[in-house]
Assembly symmetry: C2
Homo-oligomer: 310 residues x 2
């Protein structure tokens, strides 16, 4: 069975990890690249790498990001050289960006070098960048438009986000690999990632939403897991972003953002009371424990998603 997961960073990585634990399905993860950025002349792809490190089993569980046992010797030198280091890259992580950047400069597509990195770390599932072209998320704060990582890391998500836009939509298009994965999909799952800046950029790639709709047209079910539980984001600024952008800060608010292209919405048990309102949008609803606290929790949620009717 061909399973396609749309994913951002940490929430997407956890669900991908849970899905990977179940045999009998071929997992392809289409990952957000809107967070990608250049630092020290190197292309950094945070969401791709978070998913990759997690599927490789080398993610740093203690920190919730980066690589287990990571060190920062290079960052100390970059400091001495006067480089901006508010996005502090670990030594092991730097190797990823170095290899990726060298391959891109040599003419490889992002998708191709991403797969080479995955193979190097013996990652079985395919992790596909949503596009090979740069498509960059920017947010407007009280101080104007800024790059996503400036907001997310440097300013630690402190400013209110008043608007979101994606730079590069004129030239970005889904890769052949993304289109093929969606065309071959038996099941599409949307990870409990930030709907606005993790799943939003994926849908902003011109043609990608159509490809999902075509899959639905041939009977494929799209199941989305809410990243908002009890009115709060488990991690990250999704709840505050929903509020400042004028959406309801609840799983229902997320369901409304997805209603046009999703068939089934998965609510956490604490949000069971929202089921009728979500069903009223025309979506099927499944209620379960969606918190992936440990490996068992990841595998349990993944197993439940895989057991839902196609």
């Amino acid at each position: 069975m061909n399973l396609v997961l749309l994913a951002g960073g940490v929430g997407g990585a956890k669900l991908a990890h849970g899905l990977q634990a179940h045999r009998g399905s071929d997992l392809t993860v289409i990952v957000n690249t809107g967070d990608d950025f250049e630092r020290h002349g190197l292309l950094v792809c945070p969401d791709h790498d978070t998913v990759m490190y997690t599927l490789a089993g080398i993610d740093n569980r203690e920190w919730g990001w980066g690589i287990a046992g990571e060190t920062f010797a290079a960052a100390g030198m970059l400091d001495r050289y006067g480089e901006e280091t508010w996005f502090r890259l670990g030594d092991r992580d730097l190797a990823t960006h170095i290899v990726r950047t060298a391959a891109l400069r040599a003419g490889d597509r992002l998708t191709v070098v991403a797969r080479r990195l995955q193979v190097g770390l013996e990652v079985g599932p395919i992790i596909l960048p949503m596009t090979d072209e740069p498509l960059r998320t920017e947010v407007r704060t009280g101080a104007g438009w800024i790059e996503f990582q400036d907001y997310f890391v440097r300013q630690q998500q402190a400013p209110d986000v008043l608007e979101v836009r994606f730079r590069g939509t004129a030239t970005a298009r889904p890769t052949g690999e993304v289109l093929a994965a969606l065309a071959d999909a038996d099941r599409i799952v949307v990870a409990p990632s930030n709907p606005l800046v993790s799943i939003g950029p994926i849908l902003a790639v011109p043609g990608l939403r159509d490809a999902i709709q075509q899959a639905r047209g041939r009977g494929v079910t799209v199941t989305a897991v809410s990243g908002i539980i009890g009115g709060r984001a488990l991690k990250g600024p999704a709840d505050r972003m929903l509020a400042t952008l004028g959406h309801e800060v609840s799983a229902l608010g997320v369901a409304r953002l997805y209603e046009d292209w999703v068939d089934r919405f998965v609510l956490d048990e604490v949000d069971a009371e929202l089921a009728p309102a979500v069903e009223a949008l025309g979506l099927a609803v499944h209620v379960t424990d969606t918190i992936m606290g440990d490996d068992a929790g990841r595998a349990r949620l993944a197993g439940e998603l895989l057991s839902l009717p196609l």
Copy 2:
């Protein structure tokens, strides 16, 4: 007093470090870039960096190369990604190559970014790449022409060197900074570096030898320290290279290579008997202990060189 030192890697770095310890002279090191190479898409400049790390006081004395306390976490990941890692770059060292490469890609000259790195490490003396253009040392072995680092690091100097050539001499030229340093020099010293592949490439930059001769024309003395002591290179393959390239394997052999553009030759005490033969070449001779075993040895040799008549 403006002092210019022509230098390769380790021997040059030691003498530069000794000279730096003496106040009252402004030191400019013109450093060999023939060993430079690209690895993982990054430009590595071994001789420049060895001199820089040594003058910054962060050189690894135990290993004789690299940075004190260096770690290799990134190299372990590069291995996993299937990168060639016979030239194993440390985490701190990688930061240097990353910053340099990013600046070069942004359009900075090698000389400018090199100085920025030096300033980051609070290096007082100016270390000038001999040229901003690529000029690469290649050696011919029984297996044909290979890049210098292939011979030096990967093959650990095992093959006989049958010929040396410099790729890029058609386009390389001395930088304005190098020409200005030589034009302003009150004293020029040649470090006890490999005459063939450390000092040789510097002289191979078209126009650089002329600039030295012009300095001599206005009365500047060029003093070279022999890197061959008692018929052996203290470090590296200089002795074997002299032999396979048909030169006498002795300080006299080195003096013969330098006789056209050097005024004074410094012999180690163990080679005192060679003084008459070197003098017969038309060079002044100074005999002293040239082994720079520790900081005191470096400072002693440097002080003695500075005390020689201009």
